[in-house]
Amino acid sequence: MAKGIREIKRSIKSKQSMKQITRAMEMVSAAKLKRAQNAAVASRPYADKLREVVFSIASASGSVKHPMLQSREVKRTAYLVITSDRGLAGGLNTNLLRRLLNEIRARHTSPDQYAVFVIGRKGRDFLNRRNIPIAKEITGMSDSPTFADVKPIAAAAVQGFENGTYDELVLAYNEFRNAITQIPTLQKLLPLDAGDIGGAGQGAKADYEYEPSAEEVLQVLLPKYAETLVYSAMLDNKASEHGARMTAMGNATKNATKMISQLTLTYNRARQAAITQEIAEIVGGANAL
């Protein structure tokens, strides 16, 4: 009996230290989430401005043609998947990757119809396990990614589209709604939706002069715009990651508390039973005399 009590006690202790860890992780994630959200907000002016200018060029000079605005027959699709490096974030990565895998299986019959670019260790390992070839990968992204961190892989994917290696570029990431909800999203990044661009160029936008010419400005701007979208997605995913981890760790802490209180109850019962038995033994012994 005494051994049973000791075991329960040890189990309570281990749960307590686990609870400490999960609670700490929850708080760290909460702080990081705040920072990630701020970063996402800080990046917005750049993206908005870029969109505004791209749209106003596209709508003002309707004749401007650019390969990135034209859809062509899709022979090869490139996927850019953004995942986290670390787990313990609930179903965040799994949901996204499963969604991606279903999409790939449904749309493509052979591996040379698609290519995958991946950010984050989780995504890389998942795809490696399933023998899906990876065109380019980046891992070890910091918690506050800079544009320069994302640029190489974004530029590689966009360039692949520009030179015709891929006819379509799909971005897969977790859209951040709030700390509890993250939505695995597949978004077609390229070709840019010309209708979307034309329609949004409304309002009394200034008619710009372009130096050297509208085409050349667009040439510079469109790849940048696409890369910026990737960067925004990256920031969104970071916020999702921290949000998901915060929620997951919050739940873990709650579960630990529940388990501890249950174990404490069992422990006290066992202790009481042991005492009762001891008394009974003493009384029994005394009576025998």
Binding site: P45, Y46, V53, D207, Y208, E209, Y210
Partner: protein, 132 residues
């Protein structure tokens, strides 16, 4: 004296936002001086310092590429990276410059030369802005 608002924005943050009298930039087609009431204009920029004249004083900002949008009373520069003089790590920039010069002298592959040229431009621009 009339002013225009100069904003320099990178994907990470707003680097600069001031009312200035004149902006001088290096566009891909040549150097441009922007005064208030300039006609609306969009142009990509070269890697070079941007000069802002404000109350008779000159301020320099290292802007690495990107492009500029000009409106009547507002100039917005969007760049992937931009730094003010006081934020620049002079020692690192100087090292980068030397490294780039060495690479150019070595005459490595085509791609490396292109890269080294860009690195050299960035380093030179940074050093100019930092007042070195």
């Amino acid at each position: 004296m009339s002013t225009l608002r100069l904003e320099i924005v990178t994907p990470e943050r707003k680097v600069y936002e001031e009312d200035v009298n004149m902006v001088v930039v290096k566009g891909v087609a040549g150097e441009l001086g922007i005064l208030p009431n300039h006609i609306p204009l969009v142009t990509p920029l070269k890697i070079a310092p941007v000069k802002a004249k404000k109350d008779g004083k000159d301020e320099y900002i290292a802007v690495h590429g990107g492009f500029m949008e000009v409106r009547k009373d507002k100039v917005v520069i969007l760049a992937e990276a931009a730094e003010l003089g006081q934020d620049i790590d002079v020692i690192r920039a100087r090292e980068a410059k030397e490294r780039a010069e060495r690479r150019l002298a070595d005459r490595a592959s085509e791609l490396d030369i292109r890269r080294a040229e860009l690195a050299l431009q960035r380093a030179t621009s940074r050093l100019t802005v930092a007042g070195e």
